[in-house]
């Protein structure tokens, strides 16, 4: 299993496309930090959990496009032709699929750590801010539902037609631009920008980081839908 995982990691992550997308992600993340985050979101500090959440929601569409790009490897025509052979091997199809998804998840985690690392570096250098523990909740709430939902949707749609994954990339980009009710914003950008304005300022002038029930419910919903879609899509193909 480890051997297959290593092979998948090498195939998916150690190539010029992933490296190129990593560089694009890095440039975009730094651009977002130095142009938007530095000003602070919703009049909060640039290093507030709100600003951090907004930063993550800005970089998340590009990260998700990268992940969807990795999924195209699984659903391409060539891959489907090879599937006939791999399905004939003794390895369990579901386990094989999970291993491959682990490789994608590792790639995703690497990207997330990279952009979060850039942000923390930015906070230390520009604001001498080191209390990173406050960022754990916004990170989890922002990243996890997005990833699970997009993985589920990506696999589901990729199984129908690999070309639809590119359509999903456009949708992912559009979702970050088009206005939806704040709580239902998949990436959370409009929620982090607007919700703090409705909260009273604390003693330090900053609104406390509290998430509304509607937002948490929506995040949970995305998570559940993502898991359901994922389970549906990784079910084994019947051997012909």
């Amino acid at each position: 299993m480890i051997k297959i995982l290593k092979y998948e990691i090498r195939r998916l992550l150690f190539n010029k496309f992933f490296l190129g997308l990593l560089v694009i992600n890095g440039i975009f993340a730094w651009y977002t930090l130095s142009s938007d985050t530095v000003a602070g979101i919703a009049y909060t500090a640039p290093f507030s959990p709100w600003s951090f959440g907004a930063y993550l929601s800005s970089v998340m569409p590009l990260i998700m496009i990268t992940v969807l790009f990795l999924l195209t490897y699984f659903h391409s025509k060539k891959e489907k032709q090879v599937e006939v052979l791999t399905s004939a091997t003794p390895i369990d199809a579901v386990r094989y699929m999970l291993i491959r998804n682990t490789a994608v998840t590792l790639g995703f985690l690497f990207l997330c750590l990279f952009v979060v690392g850039l942000c923390l570096y930015f906070y230390v250098v520009y604001f001498n801010y080191r209390n990173f523990a406050v960022f754990i909740i916004p990170a989890l709430v922002t990243i996890l539902p997005c990833y699970v939902f997009m993985m589920g949707a990506g696999h589901c749609i990729g199984r129908i037609h690999s070309g639809l994954l590119y359509f999903l990339m456009i949708i992912s980009f559009a979702v970050s631009v088009v206005k939806v009710p704040d709580a239902f914003d998949l990436f959370g950008g409009s929620y982090y920008s607007n919700f703090p304005l409705t909260l009273p300022a604390g003693a330090d002038g900053e609104p406390a980081f509290v998430l509304s029930a509607a937002f948490l419910t929506a995040r949970g919903l995305y998570l559940v839908i993502g898991i359901v879609l994922f389970v549906i899509s990784v079910r084994p193909v019947r051997k012909k």
């Binding site: 130095s34 000003a39 602070g40 009049y43 500090a45 990339m169 300022a201 002038g205 900053e206």
Partner: protein, 728 residues
């Protein structure tokens, strides 16, 4: 011949393709989005609403659609795995060229269909304002070249990476870049969404079209260069990128053409004539305190507008009784090229420096002998806009419909010379234009043989504002004042329809009644001038008021309950006659380093609010004035950097400047009006406040800049202490 034959075949094939038709139909629908949600230009002027916005929306949507078609068509032979066969028959480079020309031809046809499709609707909606030339130029300058640029870039990306999905992704990155904040700060980067902040109905839109044409040619050269370079990358003989590149490199004309085109684009970018090449931040003038060792007895500026090229040719002549020697400096708009400097008919050497202040650049010249009599400076060129104003594209213009030149865009300033205090202006303009110098008419002119007129005027101070247009002038009397209302002739119908004369008279009467009669009323005349939407907003000074075009558009004037909008800007600027300029001067507004909320603006905004309350009622005034001020102050106080100014130093300079401008705006236009409103409540109500303000007018009007009406004077007049007006 073979290429032409292939072109015909490819054109026919594409023209019969179902997908081409879908793209054409969708491209035709693109401009529809510009009428509503995809508005990129000022929709308050009719040319913006019915020409600029639909064309810009159609430009972006069409560009993306044609790029998609290009990617699909470029990938077709590879998708079908017929490239081995087709490459054996026709060179893939030739085929790429043929495909490109066929796609360009079809997109041109689609653009022409767009022109025809929207023409009847635009004519009907715009009525007498419709300008066929502007309509056609918008499509031909904005839409068609952008579609071509998009096709070239999409094809180039595909030819380099030869993977359709990756090419699509990279194309999306390019589109994103064009809409990013970076591209907003440097509009030459906007390859898919050319900048048209506004068109003008009554003046000229050529200013923006010139910028758009320049950027389109620039990007056509760049995209053409990248596309030509990409031809070398086309995979040949089933080889990879590097081997194919090496083989195609032997066609020397390809890299040479690519390099030539790209160098042309880069040179055009670097040498662009629209934005000055000075520092990004505004540099304040500080050169006034120089030694004046040459006594000048007369100054003459001979300005000739060249609307066909957008240039100004000018000769500044200085006559001296005792001209001193040494290094002198000229400060002039950096867009102008100094042609020669002559001292007593002898040429003088000069050097342009890299020092910029305001909208001027310093040029040094050396006068070797003292006692000279005449110094002439001849310059010509295209006035540039300040780099810090580039995102708003505020600048000066010389076009066939409008001339607008301010300060150093019209005349040079010389340091080291002692001026006589007056100058003579000789201004040559097309015969149909009427000039205004510092918002006053020029009466004398001579008709030249070529149909132009040379206007002459002796004037004190400097050329601060110089405009010319085919103006209409309405003279009337209001509240005991002689008023000249000057606006573009194209607005005659709107001004009559909405009875603007009466509306203006109403404001003048209100202010006279509540604030007192201006000391100069009845003697001097008040000039009210409309200016182009390109430099929108408003302004007021000694004996004049001016407004941007948006103030008087039918859309704004027909909806008086829209709130404190552009239609009320004219009220605000008229109130400035009482607060600021000739009226009571409160000092600190122009000192931008000062964050003090006290200025003319506070009292002007407060008086405007009172007038609107009088006219539309308390609820309206609360909703559109008091609540808006309070919201702005609340937001300011929530701001992290407002609460923690110690962090400001860590911000990039541009952000610091933006924050400072924002805070200053809130202080002037929201905080101070709220403080005055509080003062009104503390002194005993509106009538009492009117009484105080009338007494202030009688005591402080006409004091000018030397003896301004200070905040302490205001507190004393109200009998209040500073702490009384601190907002809760």
């Amino acid at each position: 011949m073979k290429t032409f034959f292939l072109y015909r075949v490819e054109l026919r094939r594409l023209a019969l393709s179902k997908f081409t038709w879908i793209v054409t139909v969708l491209s035709l629908c693109g401009p529809l989005t510009g009428y509503s949600f995809l508005q990129q230009s000022n929709a308050s002027v009719m040319s913006g609403q019915y020409i600029a916005n639909p064309v810009l929306a159609g430009t972006v949507i069409g560009a993306i659609l044609w790029a998609v078609l290009t990617l699909i068509e470029s990938n077709r032979v590879y998708r079908n795995k017929t490239d081995i066969l087709t490459d054996a028959i026709v060179s893939p480079i030739r085929m790429a060229f043929v495909r490109m020309t066929a796609l360009a031809s079809l997109s041109a046809a689609a653009c022409f269909l767009c022109v025809l499709a929207y023409l009847p609707y635009t004519i009907v909606k715009m009525d007498y304002i419709f300008n066929p030339a502007l309509y056609m130029m918008s499509f031909l300058i904005l839409m068609l070249p952008t579609w071509w640029i998009s096709i070239l870039l999409a094809a180039a990306i595909y030819q380099i990476v030869q993977r359709v999905e990756l090419a699509g992704l990279l194309y999306v990155v390019c589109v994103y870049f064009s809409f990013s904040r970076f591209a907003n700060s440097d509009f030459f980067s906007r390859w898919i969404n050319p900048i048209i902040i506004t068109y003008s109905d009554g003046f000229s839109s050529l200013y923006y079209l010139r910028i758009a044409l320049y950027t389109r040619v620039l990007w056509l050269a760049l995209a053409g260069g990248i596309w030509t370079l990409s031809l070398i990358c086309i995979r040949r003989y089933q080889k990879n990128l590097l081997v194919s590149f090496w083989r195609s490199l032997r066609k020397v004309y390809l890299p040479v053409t690519a390099a030539a085109l790209m160098v042309t684009g880069i040179m055009m970018w670097r040498g662009q004539p629209f934005v000055d090449h000075g520092p990004a931040e505004f540099q304040y003038w500080d050169y006034y305190n120089t030694i004046n060792d040459s006594k000048i007895s007369a100054v003459t500026y001979r300005l000739t507008a060249k609307p066909e090229s957008g240039q100004l040719h000018s000769i500044a002549e200085y006559t001296s009784t005792s001209g001193g020697s040494g290094i002198k400096s000229i400060w002039l708009n950096p867009g102008y090229k100094i042609l020669r400097i002559m001292c007593d008919n002898q040429p003088v050497s000069f050097t342009a420096t890299s020092e910029f202040q305001g909208d001027s650049q310093r040029t040094d010249f050396n006068l070797t002998q003292s006692g000279w009599k005449t110094l002439t400076i001849e310059y010509e060129g295209y006035p540039t806009m300040l780099r810090c104003f580039a995102p708003y594209t505020w600048g000066n213009e010389v076009t066939s419909d409008y001339v607008s030149l301010n300060n150093f865009s019209s005349m040079p300033s010389l340091t080291g010379l002692n001026f006589p205090g007056t100058f003579t202006l000789e201004l040559t303009l097309p015969g149909y234009m009427t000039p205004l110098l510092n918002h006053q008419f020029i009466e004398d002119y001579t008709l030249n043989t070529d149909g132009t007129k040379t206007w002459t005027k002796k004037e004190s101070s400097y050329i601060i504002w110089l405009t010319a247009c085919d103006y209409n002038v309405e003279s009337f009397n209001a509240a005991g004042m002689n008023v000249n209302f000057v606006y573009s002739k194209k607005y005659e119908t709107i001004m009559t329809e909405y009875n603007m004369q009466e509306a203006l008279a109403e404001v003048l009467s209100y202010c006279t009644e509540h604030l007192g009669r201006l000391s100069w009323a009845g003697g001097s005349s008040l000039m009210m001038v409309q200016r182009s939407a390109i430099s929108d907003g408003g302004n007021a000074g000694e004996g004049w008021v001016e407004w941007g075009e948006s103030t008087f558009t039918a859309g704004n004037l027909s909806d008086p309950l829209k709130g404190a909008n552009a239609a009320e800007v004219f009220v605000h600027e008229m109130v400035h006659i009482w607060w600021g300029g000739l009226g009571v001067n409160c000092g600190s507004e122009w000192d931008v380093s000062n964050n003090d909320p006290w200025s003319d603006e506070g009292l002007t905004v407060y008086t405007t609010y009172r007038l609107m309350k009088d006219k539309y009622g308390e609820e309206y005034a609360k909703q559109y004035y008091i609540d808006v001020w309070q919201a702005a102050v609340d937001i300011q106080e929530r701001g992290f950097y407002y609460r923690n100014p110690e962090y400001l130093d860590r911000l990039p300079e541009q952000y610091r400047a933006d924050l400072s401008t924002m805070n200053r705006g809130t202080n002037l236009y929201s905080r101070m009006p709220l403080m005055i409103l509080k003062a009104e409540q503390l002194v005993g109500g509106e009538e009492k406040m009117d009484e105080i303000l009338r007494s202030v007018q009688s005591r402080f009007a006409n004091n000018g800049f030397d003896k301004p009406f200070t905040y302490q004077d205001f507190l004393d007049a109200c009998g209040l202490q500073e702490e009384d007006l601190i907002l809760d």
